[in-house]
């Protein structure tokens, strides 16, 4: 039961940060900050997946959601920056 409460607390904590990050992602003027925030949301989500006893999902989310997706975002940002420069 204690473990359960620990998990709940962790989820609430990560959840609150995620929500704040989501606001940041949407509102921050710098796109790179926004992309990184989103990447962190994915990362926290994968931790929450672990808490929810879903290691497979956690791995996938970490690799794809916070890794590759972010990478592609940066490709695009880079391209945009180049074109503007």
């Amino acid at each position: 039961m204690n473990r359960e409460f620990l998990f709940i607390g962790l989820t609430i904590f990560l959840g609150l940060i995620s929500i704040i990050l989501a606001f940041v992602a949407i509102h921050h003027k710098k796109l790179s900050v926004a992309v990184i925030s989103t990447s962190f949301i994915s990362l926290f989500a994968s931790i929450i997946f672990l808490l929810l006893a879903a290691p497979d999902v956690a791995m996938t989310e970490a690799a794809i959601g916070s890794g590759l997706t972010t990478l592609i975002f940066f490709y695009v940002l880079n391209k945009i920056k180049k074109t503007n420069a």
Binding site: A25, F49, A53, K79
Partner: protein, 126 residues
């Protein structure tokens, strides 16, 4: 008290992220931001799905040898629901594909008009 469970909390988080994502989709003018909002909403939905499969106090749906010895490979009493997890795997990959495609569009659209403002892409209308 009955709402303060791991499932409820993560479900709430998932729903919140989804709504925030929708909010971003509707308010942001920058196409990249819209796509970001989409990924946020996606993440939210994924969390929702996994939380629905959570069973209080059970372990990951992997049969380790200890369990096998006890239950004769029947692990139905000890694991969480594996199906939502399988679905989420699919969903994450789909989300990646869609995001990659959207970003490709965004990049091309930017090259075409040198802007990312979605309001500028309305040559088809009425």
């Amino acid at each position: 008290m009955e709402y303060i469970t791991l499932g409820h909390m993560s479900l709430l988080l998932g729903i919140s992220l989804t709504v925030i994502g929708f909010w971003g989709i509707l308010t942001q003018k920058n196409i990249i931001k819209i796509i970001l909002s989409f990924t946020i909403a996606d993440a939210g939905v994924n969390i929702v799905i996994v939380s629905l499969g959570y069973v209080v106090g059970k372990t990951a749906p992997i049969i380790d040898n200890a369990v096998v010895q006890e239950a004769g490979r029947n692990v139905s009493a000890s694991v969480v629901d594996p199906i939502p997890q399988a679905l989420v795997l699919t969903s994450i990959v789909i989300g990646f594909g869609v995001t990659a495609l959207m970003l490709a569009f965004a990049m091309k659209m930017f090259t075409a008009k040198k802007t990312l403002d979605i309001n500028q892409f309305n040559e088809l209308k009425w």
